[in-house]
């Protein structure tokens, strides 16, 4: 267990106070993931990738990791390299199956066990996200986004998902998305998803380099859950384009334990993508 390594303490080689913000983000997400869950990891999502590996190596020996079409379980391996080669053959180096032979989305029955991470060029107070673009007129956007990828479908069906953003600014956190590519909690309310018949559990956390947000159970409006070490509530609010619900006391996001940091730095993120 984590505390086994506590003796190494704060000054050891994996001193938690040396954790970067991205390492803190990955640890927070890893702590949410449960053994037996299915993790689908998109391209260019280093925080999510490391979170998944950390969970898999620390407490998730029955997790299934899906990188692109390759489904793997690597709990028995000392290390799992990031599939830096994109879609070439080595992505499936550790795979046990390859789902991409022309029947994608042909079994969503176990997607209640599936968790994924979604990004966005905009996110609103109800966790709706936008990868389409920014502007009033879809035919002439001010900023054209990359497109919805598979997020509309995944957000509809998976057990839960987390919004993970590389930056936290008022340009990203907007009162209302210009377009919604992944439906989160719509206009709010506990029934925001059930009234549309959406089976998936919706967004649970929104994790950024400044802190962690969640959604109030009744209104499903975003609230500040924790701030990362060294970040103030004011800084977060100032970089958020709408009023965040903030409790009386906002705790600090937990640091990784030394054991977790050791796994991150020696096995889950060997290339050090999150180190700085």
């Amino acid at each position: 267990m984590a505390n086994d390594n506590a003796a190494e303490g704060q000054s050891g080689p994996f001193d938690p106070t040396t954790a970067s913000r991205q390492e803190i983000m990955a640890t927070f997400l890893a702590n949410d993931l449960e053994d037996g869950e299915i993790l689908q990891i998109g391209a260019a999502m280093p925080v999510g990738e490391v979170a998944v590996r950390l969970a898999h190596f620390s407490h998730g020996p029955n997790m299934e990791l899906i990188f692109i079409g390759a489904r793997m379980n690597a709990a028995h391996l000392d290390v799992l390299p990031t599939p830096e080669f994109g879609w070439d053959r080595r992505t499936v180096r550790w795979a046990e199956s390859y789902s991409d032979t022309g029947h994608r989305f042909d079994r969503v029955k176990d997607w209640h066990r599936r968790v994924f991470f979604v990004g966005g060029v905009q996110v609103d107070p109800y966790g709706n996200t936008n990868l389409i673009g920014v502007g009033d007129d879809h035919r002439r956007l001010r900023f054209r986004g990359p497109g919805s990828v598979g997020t509309s479908t995944l957000a509809t069906l998976v057990g839960r998902y987390h919004i993970v953003l590389n930056s936290h600014t008022a340009r990203t956190f907007v009162p209302r998305c210009d377009f919604v590519s992944a439906y989160g909690w719509g206009q709010g309310g506990a029934d925001a998803r059930t009234k549309l018949g959406l089976p998936g559990g919706g967004p649970k956390y929104c994790v950024t380099p400044l802190g962690v947000m969640d959604f109030a159970p009744d209104t499903k409006r975003m609230r500040l859950r924790s701030r990362h070490p060294g970040v103030s509530v004011e800084e977060i609010q100032a970089n958020t384009g709408f009023d965040l619900d903030v409790g009386r006391e906002v705790p600090t996001t937990p640091l990784p334990t030394p054991a977790q940091l050791e796994i991150i730095r020696t096995r889950a993120d060997r290339r050090g993508a999150l180190r700085h």
């Binding site: 407490h59 029955n62 390759a70 079994r107 937990p254 977790q260």
Partner: protein
């Protein structure tokens, strides 16, 4: 959410289940899907347990045996032929003509469509095959619709969602990563995707390393249970292992035909006693068949 940080030394669970335990997954009134090649070891175990009132998504003589043993209330089948023994499987024919079972009349394209709807989490999918036929008349679950885009006539097929699918395959690792030899069976992957849980009986368990040596050959990732059943499809074929035992299936068809036509069940009851009820396990069944008969069926 897990509260706080945790590093666990737990290891990966294996999915190997004993045939008797796997059979308890099937209980009265469920929708059971059986694949092709037929998972006969499990089917015999289910009959032994005396499960009743099943709705069976299946075909051919494996389905017929379940009907003969009184396990079936309703069939969802597009074809129940009698193998080499006749155009229609005897127990199915008799039970349907007597009104003892309900036939959810369908067709291959329609069944496939309903299974796909379940697999995709959709309440229905449309299909064109069968427009103009009697199928929507004799099966009120099929709705003739006008498509919302071009106004064409189609059939809306509701999701068909088996509680359990049971399949037979060549090999699996201990974690349920299944690889077929010579391709998966006819509808097997449709059944697996549509079902809540899937049991795969296999000729052999192989190492996880062997699976990972060729992940593209994995046909089912993480079956919920794998059951060790060498010769487990007997008297039917298992690709790469053995061919159908035609003498044996003829024996069954004769017994079942006699029961169906003359109302004399003695031959059929004898068959069921000897090959289903008396063997306590799949191993006992294989002893009853005899190893000489089994090895004579090896593919060449």
């Amino acid at each position: 959410m897990n509260t706080g940080a945790h590093v666990s030394s737990a290891t990966r669970h294996e999915n190997i289940v004993e045939e008797a335990d796997a059979a308890t997954w099937v209980s009265d009134g469920m929708i059971l899907a059986i694949g092709d090649p037929a998972p006969m070891a499990m089917i015999r175990q289910i009959i032994r347990r005396g499960v009743k009132e099943l709705t069976v998504v299946g075909s051919g003589l494996a389905l017929d045996l379940l009907i003969a043993a009184g396990c079936v209330r309703r069939t969802m089948a597009y074809y129940v032929g009698g193998g080499s023994g006749g155009a229609v499987a005897p127990s199915f024919r008799r039970a349907a003509e007597q009104g003892e079972i309900e036939v959810w009349e369908c067709e291959e394209g329609i069944l496939t469509t309903g299974l796909r709807a379940a697999a995709q989490g959709l309440p229905f999918l449309p299909w064109r095959g069968g427009v103009g036929t009697s199928l929507p008349e004799v099966n009120p679950d099929l709705k003739v619709i006008v498509d919302p885009i071009k106004g064409q006539t189609l059939i809306a097929v509701p999701a068909i969602e088996p509680d359990v699918a049971i399949l037979h395959a060549a090999v699996s690792d201990a974690y349920g990563n299944v690889q077929h030899c010579g391709g998966p069976g006819w509808l097997d992957l449709f059944l697996q995707r549509a079902a809540d849980r899937t049991i795969v009986q296999v000729e052999k368990i192989i190492s996880n390393e062997e699976i990972r040596a060729n992940p593209w050959a994995t046909t089912i990732a993480r079956a919920d249970a794998v059951v060790r059943a060498p010769y487990g499809a007997h008297p039917f074929y298992s690709r790469g292992y053995y061919v159908q035992d035609r003498a044996f299936t003829r024996l069954y068809v004769e017994a079942a035909s006699a029961a169906a036509s003359s109302e004399d069940r003695s031959l059929l009851d004898h068959f069921l006693a000897r090959y289903v009820y008396e063997p306590q396990t799949h191993g006992d069944y294989l002893e009853a068949v005899g190893v000489k008969q089994l090895i004579a069926l090896y593919e060449y």
